[in-house]
Amino acid sequence: MNLSYQEKSIWASLIITSLMFIYYFSRVLGVLTNPEIPETSLIIVFIGVITVTIFAQIVIQSIMAVIYRDEVKDGGDERESLIRLKATSISHYVLISGVWIACMSFYLNPSALMLMNVFIVFFVVSEIVGFVTQLIYYQRGM
């Protein structure tokens, strides 16, 4: 498969985001199944995951930009902008649905941990949907 710089960059973001949040949700599962682990420890894990994700993105995207410097174009062209806009629109609907579901879950189960994690789940899902949508549009066309 012949991938453009943009596609490789999206794949990198998709893999980093997925790995980081698989780790985070495995820790959430640990807290839910083991009552001895304090819920507040998740805050530290969450901050750590966000920090590592940002750091990993900066390092990997910078390395890729150097390797594929001939393909890097400021802001992308009209096709890339359109793909990004369409993907953002779809990911926006997922995020909005998540906000509604989080509100309803808080009404049914008023727990701060629950509310925070439902928000995080939908934030991550919307990000992943955005990345996957872009990859589909790049491969399939519009």
Partner: protein
Amino acid sequence: MPFCSIQNNMRKLRFNRGEMTQQELAKNIGVTRQTIIAIESRKYSPTLELAFKIAHVFQVPLEEIFQYEPEKS
């Protein structure tokens, strides 16, 4: 795979212009090579502005490059 309803002769025109590469054309009109590939393979319909830029590079009228092909029902 969806094909857009605008077909084009860009590959032929590039060939007639001394085998201009996709990269050269992309550089002339300010897009990536992937966008040229997508237009030529009918995976993307360019905006009117980009279509005019392409016509300007080849020095031909727009309709000589792009033709509308209605979808068969």
